[in-house]
Subunit: 327 residues, 4 copies
């Protein structure tokens, strides 16, 4: 359960109460939620004047659940909103390769009607012999590209110690699938206040996905965006199997916004637009799309990247769907 | 490759040519497609006057592929169409339990705007100790219920020898997931001309799914409807993982109509409508929905069945989506 | 629970008691176990003089569980035993192709020390265009080949109506993976008394596997041999993933013998012998191996078939392991 | 391919040659292997006097493959060996909880005949609200416990910056499943020379597993031990599905030692010993076992931990198997 602590309770009384409940060995600990503090505890053996309110959350996803917070979380980045009544479109290349490439992508992404620019500067690669990104140089190009066209930017951070560096340049930090259970990184992202786009691990259950979000939320960062990006199954006709059941389920049990990545979720260009349509129809708060001027020359993920005309079509179509789905 | 045989070629010349190509041991054989005959052969070592045309299909899905037939297959059942420019809604209870139950379901299914009535008379059950269906008595009730409201009916057939019996009562025969690779049953369904609703096996690849359809098509029955109904994955928050990647993929590589079953595909009532919406948005030709007057009392699959108001909402929503998806 | 009926109870009293417990609609029914009859019922609302004994089996696998029968089931086929204190080796080609081929295989299989000869006459094939077996002609060759060398034979039956035909020639009938939930076939195999080798479906849980065996057992045929043959997972370096956890688990919860098929379980010749060794070490009652004189020329599954020297090595090795595993 | 560079080649000539082959953008780079340097390149467009030898490795697993190094890698830690002609047994508790607990475990682990002591000081936990380990205090207890009984110790490192700290106390560093693709951590482990026990990701293919090992090897650390610990599948009767196919496969394609973890691989105490036996029978170089004095009181993974008598039995049994498997 969650025990809300009175704002004027002093630290000493709180610590004493924690000890009475069993202390850290019983798993009792403080978590922050905005300006409030809560105690997480399995039981409440005695009363205390420091208690403001008791929330007997049945879900083990304390902070991400609708039991804890009924209304949708809406995350603001400047004038852009993620969650709530409208959909958000994030687009851009897999990897930032050159200044020219990302700036040209930024222009057509903006023109197509997307709301946020994406691009990778640190690239996790299965083989150590693949292109691993431009790192800080790439972050700079990305930030400039976003500013030129007036779009916020999102990019991946791969390790806890890079969080401050990436947070310097990016408006949203992305945690990739392979790092969904990198707890050091989750903890580090819980300590900042910039929004975190958390991608589902490629064979993580929705339960584990929500528990990963708890790490960030428990650190005090309420700005978590969940991202479904396909799971690993026996099927090998596609790179991954996009799990839209999970999207409908997450929207029901959690107040966090949910974004869908049909590019990684399919791995095949002709499937990206139909699945983006399906994502909006199932209730997702937006999509994140790999798009670049010349997909066939991309150093990374070209086979699933859209070019400018395809991105235009995708955005037109998802907007049409969005207009008829009650949100 | 497929070698189209001239209509006036006589059987003896055809047989001789088959022997020249290596005969049955080389896998050479005749398949029927409407009034036409084709030879399937891996190679064409010599010419023959019986050859009308050579179709060098690269796909191993000879007859189901768009290489063989570019335009969408549209299947007519009376005035109802499956495939093509409109969507088809199939609804009804999991199992036929009583005459009253199926007739009452038929009325609200019709009133809600569905096009085809479903109901199971032969039920495959994981445990031998579960309710296994009313069998022929159920088939009669189903046929009558359909007639009373003017809807064609679909029901499952579980074994080759039951095909004639089920075909006597049903407008469409369904092959269930567990039987997708029951080749005797596939062969038997290839010999009739009533439409076959073929459900994907719960861990069959799309490739195996299309090969199963080839069994029916190769027998000469062109009226095959593919049905995606969820696959088995590591995720256990839902009964199955609905694979909408597969739907987009099948629509691209095959001319056959594709229907989606979000009831089995999720197993959870609150997810059925969002996933039905997604199915139409991704390009499916229709949905098949478990619906019954009192889901909580159903002997089978109650947890995923909709009641009348929910079915009304679902149909309204999918029609709205359909109206904005270019078909 | 299982309610054992007194042997002298008359049918009328039994039927009346069934009605009192709720009848078929409540899932109450009779199952045979040797010369005994049991009632399966969820509850026991009243007493009756027909009751001999009450077995309150917690497992839903009534008849296959060790709760019902503690000691290992040992199945006798002539002088050969499956289950109990020694291991059984079944070997032979995937498909019977010619009389010569199966007879030559029989000779080296016998010489290598195997106990049972295998060979397929009815072949389930993913594509309708592949070789589908010699059917009854193949059954005859197999029976003769077995007789010539003095080995019992096992072969697959694919459909309920073929059960009498296959039972005429074979000592053991095999139900293949694709048919593990072909309930008509399971029922038909429950009506005969020849041993049934039941292969696990390629994505069936162990729970579903045991429930499939219940169909056969509930029909009165106690001679069921379970066969683990690999499951479908995300891994594609091998044809399947052999699940030896399942073998250890099945041996603990069930009294039925468990055989392992490392040929299908790996799909790769160099892995067959190591995995056969592992199977015996984990506690399996035997292995079933694809072996043929000239694997590279086989019409079916050549890549996973062993030749004579490899089979000799395998049998030597598994016997060495068997000698040090307490059985 | 791998191009071995002459030992006396100077850096400038090497750099020039790298540029001629296309430089970093073409993926050309230097890797260290003991005292040797190699260039990785997709092609060799011209000759150079710096070339000592060309190894045209077909496998994309350059350094871990038997194509590169035929003979088994044997890793020495003091007098203990991993790989080669004998098996290695690693045992100890999941988490280090108190000084007393780890020291008492060390004594019975040693007495039972194990060769290496394990214990976790940094624990990755799915939920942020679970016990996360004693950290450096735990490392100290572990080191002391190992010294008292004369066993080397292995423990998990979770992040790149902790590598020096953990390397100070541990003889072998373990990379956990969740971190198999934490490339920063892999890189950091490539820079030290202590042995690395690399656990397979819970849904990583064997191909990805070997590529992860390449990160460490390419950094110059040749002391990599692969550890199969079960994969995630649809089966939920066990925590994971132990993949012994992978062990046989890895032993064939790679020269690295392979250890099996049947504790995580099954998650069920009664299955641990049978699967350990199978692991040795399939050709693994050893097993790693969770064992603690009082499993039922463990803060972590009690349900899969063995107590002292069970560990004794396990070690007796695997030694018996080992004695009859040709190694």
């Amino acid at each position: 359960m969650l025990i809300k602590i009175k704002r004027n309770a002093n630290r000493k009384d709180v610590d004493e109460f924690i000890q009475k409940l069993g202390g850290g060995q019983a798993g009792v600990k403080i978590i922050n939620w905005g300006d409030d503090r809560y105690l997480v505890s399995k039981k409440l053996t005695e009363n205390s004047p420091i208690i403001e309110e008791i929330k007997d959350i049945k879900s083990k996803h304390h902070l991400s659940s609708r039991e804890f917070k009924l209304e949708d979380t809406v995350i603001a980045i400047g004038n852009t909103r993620i969650g709530g009544s409208s959909i958000t479109i994030i687009a851009g290349p897999c990897a930032i390769e050159t200044e020219l490439q990302i700036k040209s992508a930024a222009r057509f992404v903006k023109a197509a009607g997307a709301h946020i620019l994406r691009g990778g500067a640190f690239k996790p690669r299965t083989s150590p012999h693949s292109f691993r990104g431009l790192e800080e140089e790439g972050l700079k190009y990305l930030q400039e590209a976003g500013k030129e066209v007036g779009l916020p930017v999102v990019t991946e951070v791969m390790t806890a110690e890079d969080v401050p560096l990436v947070a310097k340049y990016a408006d949203i930090l992305q945690i990739g699938s392979r790092n969904m259970q990198n707890y050091m990184l989750l903890d580090a992202c819980g300590k900042i206040r910039k929004p975190i786009l958390l991608k589902r691990g490629l064979s993580s259950t929705v339960d584990e996905f929500l528990l990963a979000s708890e790490y960030i939320l428990a650190g005090g960062n309420q700005n978590v965006i969940l991202c479904e990006r396909g799971i690993r199954t026996f099927e090998n006709a596609f790179r991954n199997t996009l799990d839209l059941n999970a999207v409908a389920y997450l929207k029901q049990v959690s107040h966090l916004p949910v974004i869908v990545d049909p590019s990684h979720g399919t791995g095949l260009r002709p499937l990206v637009t139909p699945l983006a349509q399906a994502a909006i129809a199932v209730g997702a708060d937006g999509v994140i799309i790999e798009a670049t001027a010349t997909p066939d020359e991309a150093l990374c993920d070209g086979a699933q990247s859209l070019d400018e005309p395809m991105l235009n079509t995708l955005i037109t179509n998802v907007n049409r769907i969005s207009s008829v789905v009650y949100r």
